[in-house]
């Protein structure tokens, strides 16, 4: 009995056990670190004019999908129609938004207390942490057991990306940020890890939607935060800021997923995996383009950033680059090698920005 000594005391006095004493763990310390962001910030004018939708893409923005070959469905209205009016994922993306406001969105230096507050949001019951712990990347073969099983994440780190890769990273970044260590860097690591999480989550929900139709709602919500096209939250907000057309295509992808499920036994188990996979591919392509833009933006800021701002941009790149490696190799091995080689360099200042952006544009040219 590990509580035996205290128990004997409690046994006789019948008084309540000790309460956890609120502590700050020394998080009041910390402070700003030096560094400057690019002035002006480099911008990348997205030109999607050459990026026509694929022939089998779902295109609800054009004549209510009448010309795209998809049968008529609930998404033809060009708005998302939830299967279940209550989408629990919306709360998780709301937590992401709160974390973003605390840690990186205003461009300032987050305080140690901001990291603690952000972690409270991250650790909410049934919140982001609970899903990071079990998140799987469905691009990889399924593990023999769920990723929540002890030992499985270590044996299948690519599939069990949440517990194997993202969780340790997030734990470390939140803790070190709360201790006042390189706040911008750890905020950027958290940002990158959560972007990765939101990407794999949205796609993971497509697959689970095969059996649980309401998971299609989660697919949409993990990308958009449960919002309309023109007021995106979460990952959609980040993507829309960098590539409006990439965001529109990704939103089309979520509507494609919803359309598939509407056409495929919405009240039961889906059977038309071909249509599902078309929708999945459409969404995946757009999301990858969006993440490539996010990576591209940080890389282009490397030469004109200094100090901790430079380190933060580099930290984000270091987190997100491995995510894109799998898709990059599927598309073009040599370009993927270029990308990997540049982003594996020990110093951000030695990165050939042109090579990286060229590789990204070649690998992920269109949403």
């Amino acid at each position: 009995m590990r509580h035996l000594p205290a128990a004997l005391l409690l046994f006789f006095c019948a008084c309540p056990g000790p309460a956890p004493a609120p502590t700050d763990g020394g998080v009041d310390g910390g402070g700003s670190d030096g560094g400057a962001a690019c002035q002006p910030r480099p911008s990348f004018p997205e030109d999607a004019g050459a990026c026509l939708p694929l022939a089998d893409d779902y295109q609800p923005r054009f004549n209510g999908s009448s010309g795209d070959g998809w049968p008529a469905c609930v998404s033809d209205s060009n708005t998302y129609t939830p299967i279940n009016p209550s989408i629990s994922t919306v709360a998780r993306v709301a937590a992401y938004e709160g974390i973003a406001e605390l840690l990186w969105r205003d461009g300032g230096v987050p305080s140690p207390q901001a990291f603690v507050d952000a972690r409270v949001l991250y650790a909410q019951d049934q919140g982001l942490d609970s899903r990071v712990q079990r998140r799987e990347d469905v691009h990889y073969p399924a593990a023999p057991m769920p990723c929540s099983t002890a030992g499985i994440p270590e044996q299948h780190p690519e599939r069990c990306v949440g517990p194997a890769k993202l969780l340790p990273l997030l734990n470390d970044a939140f803790a070190r940020g709360a201790m006042g260590e390189a706040p911008r860097v750890h905020a950027a690591r958290i940002e990158g890890a959560l972007h990765w999480f939101l990407y794999v989550s949205s796609l993971s929900e497509v697959m689970s939607c095969t059996n649980r139709a309401q998971d299609c709602d989660s697919c949409w919500a993990y990308y958009t935060g449960g919002t309309p096209r023109d007021s995106p939250l979460g990952l959609a907000r980040e993507v829309a800021a960098l590539g409006p057309e990439a965001h529109q295509r990704a939103y089309d992808g979520t509507l494609a997923v919803r359309c598939w499920r509407n056409l495929d036994n919405e009240t039961g188990v889906a059977m038309n995996t071909t249509l599902r996979d078309r929708a999945f591919a459409q969404l995946d392509r757009a999301l990858l383009r969006g993440l490539a833009l996010a990576l591209r933006q940080r890389v282009t800021e490397l030469p004109c950033s200094t100090g901790d701002v430079l380190d933060a941009r580099w930290a984000y790149v270091q987190v997100l680059a491995p995510l894109l490696d799998r898709a990059a190799r599927e598309r073009n091995g040599p370009q993927a090698d270029v990308l990997k080689a540049e982003l594996s360099k020990s110093s951000p200042l030695s990165v050939d920005v042109g090579a990286v952006t060229g590789a990204l544009d070649a690998l992920f040219p269109c949403p």
């Binding site: 009995m1 309540p16 056990g17 603690v116 049934q126 517990p163």
Partner: protein
């Protein structure tokens, strides 16, 4: 029936008696209690029950001490049965009672369903003192587990409403426990220590108890301390879904496929009971009962479905302390009375650990209950030669004061933040109580009429917590309860009984202010709940002969305003409650708009056979249905019915035991417990991971027992449980029942 009607009937009978002459009481009525049963209740220990007969009639005794009413459907588990069956806990002791079904959310938590209702819809009583607090939640709870079975002389189960005598919550039934009493001081000085050791293989239980009995002059004492350490519970393997053969998410098994994660606990107990006879017929009792349970995981949350295997919700502390003083008086006039004042502290501390993220959520709730009761039973008087009247009356009140806090800790950086509120709102309080009168009129030897009524009071208040969007609560009610009944002794051994009872449950602090993650989803408060009432009509037949004891009962309960879980949308969640928004399912307790029905049949039979053999058997069938709390879907083709099954209604179930007892103290028994498939599921049951997809399969489990009372000083018991290693699970449980194993117990009184 409305409470006012019961009051009126009582008044009418009292008026009829007002001009009556006092004569000798007829040879009938409730005072015909079994001397053997009374003696049995006062048998303190193993050594003193040499060759105790398990087949004595289970009856209740009269007097001012609170027992379940005799004329109602009831049964009693006595100490000899506890000793021979070796239950793992107080709830476990009820598995052989008709109309009772024991559900287990955790290895260290069990809740008795009585006539299909449990938790806050039943009342727990210890030595006449109400144990229910205002934080008893909807659905099963763990609190009956916090009674140490070693201190129990008997457990009486009243099936059906009992609010007249026991107040709020007594809708489905009452579980009334009587404690083991100190030795009789009139037999001379006594000092008797007893050592008891117990072990069980299925969960590696190892424990014991030291008990001391003493008597000197007019004073007597009984006290003891006990401890046990219980390991992971090994089952016979998974119970599979009757719908698709899948293995439920709950419980999670170790690699051997038998050992259930999220089980095991540690326990310390202590008790002291001091009694002094201050005058002839008058005694004072001072008693203290302490229960301390440590590190008891909640199995369905350890880990939660889909979560990592190291995630766990653990009740690190589950304490209950009960202290009281009571005066029992019997006056020469024939009046008997009992008055008691009591204090109970219910304390629990939970830790929800997510070690992979270094996150620890802690909650601590403390409920202090102060109680006062007075019961008086004047002597029976006979205004007419053919009429005997017995009146009992009483008043009681219970005040709860609640403290509740919650924290979030990040272990890796040593940061702890206190939440704005706990599961309850700190500073909440509640009052419940009432005054009641009960009248029994015996007309000749064949007919007895009974009626009674309670005027009750209940009030609840809780402060607001703006940060969490929690509204203040201030509610009060004055419910009425009552009953009428008629007994006809058609033949001397046969009696037919019909009873009509109205009972109530006033909403408590849990209903009105708590927020918690339940098995079915996140549940949040509803400060606008109103009392629920149960009207029960029951008819029974009883046979009592030297060889046969049989009971059969039919009942129908109409639950008006039944409190149930209504699915809610995210938009309904209280503000600043992300755990509600983020949960897969959300519920709010509401009063059902119509009447829910619970009906059933219960039968119990005891046969005394030649060659010192005996047979016992029970069978219970319960059916429950209520208004669908899910709104009718907009799509008319979507499946929906106006009425749906009530949640976790037990399946058709029963028991059978064959026993043999030798006067020398040896005995043996073979016991069967069985249940059929339960696939009538409520809406909330479908999202409850404790219930396999499609329902809980049936089972039949056989135990064997042998015991030996070796002189008055030694009792040895061996139980072979689950002889055929059958996988089984009581409907609604997180834990599968123990697999094949052995329980041994040895009590020695040097």
């Amino acid at each position: 029936m409305r409470g006012g009607l019961a009051l009126s009937l009582t008044a009418v009978v009292l008026a009829a008696a007002s001009g009556a002459r006092a004569e000798e009481p007829p040879d009938a009525g409730p005072s015909k209690s079994s001397v053997a049963a009374r003696a049995q209740r006062q048998t303190p220990d193993a050594g003193a029950t040499l060759a105790a007969d398990e087949f004595e009639l289970s009856t209740t005794v009269s007097g001012a001490r609170q027992h379940v009413p005799e004329q109602r459907a009831s049964s009693t588990v006595r100490r000899t049965e506890l000793q021979h069956r070796q239950p793992r806990s107080a709830p476990d002791a009820l598995r052989y009672e008709p109309g009772v079904f024991v559900q287990q959310t955790a290895h260290a938590q069990a809740s008795a369903f009585v006539r299909g209702l449990t938790g806050q819809q039943t009342v727990l009583v210890f030595d006449g003192l109400r144990l229910n607090t205002s934080t008893y939640r909807q659905g099963p709870n763990q609190y009956f587990f916090t009674l140490d079975a070693a201190t129990i002389a008997s457990v009486e189960v009243l099936r059906g409403g009992g609010s007249t005598w026991f107040g709020s919550d007594a809708l489905g039934g009452v579980v009334a426990t009587q404690p083991v009493e100190p030795p009789d001081a009139s037999e001379g000085p006594l000092l008797r220590p007893t050592f008891t050791f117990r072990g069980a293989s299925a969960d590696g239980e190892l424990g014991g108890r030291f008990q001391l009995e003493a008597a000197l002059g007019r004073s007597s004492f009984l006290g003891g301390v006990g401890a046990r350490r219980v390991g992971l519970l090994q089952s016979s393997g998974p119970v599979t879904s009757p719908a698709d053969g899948s293995v439920p998410d709950v419980p999670r098994f170790d690699d051997d496929g038998r050992t259930q994660l999220g089980t095991g606990f540690n326990e310390l107990t202590g008790d002291a009971r001091f009694r002094v006879r201050v005058a002839d017929g008058h005694s004072l009792t001072a008693a203290l009962y302490a229960y301390r349970q440590f590190d008891a995981p909640r199995t369905d949350q350890c880990p939660p479905p889909g979560a990592r295997s190291d995630e766990c919700l653990t009740y690190t502390e589950q304490f209950r302390t009960l202290a009281y003083a009571a005066w029992d008086g019997a006056f020469e006039s024939g009046v008997q009375a009992r008055a008691a004042v009591s204090w109970q502290r219910q304390h629990e501390r939970r830790e929800n650990a997510r070690p992979a993220s270094f996150v620890l959520g802690t909650g601590r709730d403390v409920v202090d209950t102060f109680g006062a009761t007075l019961r008086v039973q004047p002597r029976t008087f006979t205004p007419r030669p053919w009429l005997g009247l017995t009146v009992r009356t009483g008043v009681d009140t219970w005040v709860d004061l609640v403290d509740s806090r919650a924290w979030l800790t990040f272990d890796d950086i040593g940061v702890t933040q206190e939440r704005s509120r706990g599961q309850y709102l700190a500073g909440s309080s509640s009052v419940t109580g009432g005054a009641w009168v009960d009248l029994e009129a015996a007309f000749s030897e064949r007919w007895t009429a009974r009626s009674g009524a309670r005027v009750a009071w209940a009030a609840v208040q809780a402060p607001a917590d703006p940060e969490s969007g929690s509204a203040a609560v201030a509610q009060r009610w004055f419910p009425l309860a009552g009953h009428v009944g008629l007994e006809w002794r058609a033949l001397r051994p046969v009696s037919l009984v019909v009873n009509l009872d109205r009972s109530f449950r006033a909403p408590n602090l849990d209903d009105l202010s708590s927020r918690q993650q339940t098995g079915a989803g996140f549940q949040f408060e509803n400060p606008r709940l109103e009392p629920e009432t149960a009207t029960t009509l029951e008819a029974g037949a009883r046979v009592r002969t030297a060889a046969v004891t049989a009971d059969a009962w039919l009942f129908q309960t109409w639950l008006a305003g039944a409190v149930g879980k209504q699915p809610r949308e995210v938009a309904d969640c209280p503000p600043q409650t992300p755990a509600c928004n983020a949960s897969w399912n959300r519920f709010q307790l509401v009063n059902a708009p119509g009447v829910a029905d619970v009906r059933g049949v219960e039968a119990a039979l005891k046969l005394r056979l030649p060659w010192r053999l005996g047979v016992r058997a029970t069978a219970s069938w319960t059916w429950g249905e209520g208004p669908n709390l899910v709104a009718r879907p907009a799509d008319p083709s979507a499946p929906w019915t106006e009425r749906v099954p009530l949640s976790r209604i037990p399946p058709f179930n029963g028991t059978a035991e064959l026993t043999w007892q030798h006067p020398a103290g040896l005995g043996a028994a073979a016991a069967l417990r069985w249940a059929t498939l339960q696939d009538r599921l409520a809406v909330a049951d479908f999202s409850d991971a404790r219930i396999p997809a499609g329902g809980t399969p049936g089972y039949a489990v056989v135990d064997m027992r042998v015991w030996a009372h070796l002189s008055r000083h030694i009792l040895a018991v061996l139980v072979l449980e689950n002889l055929f290693d059958t996988p089984w699970r009581a409907h609604g449980s997180s834990v599968n029942g123990p697999g094949r194993g052995v329980i041994v117990s040895l009590s020695v009184s040097p």
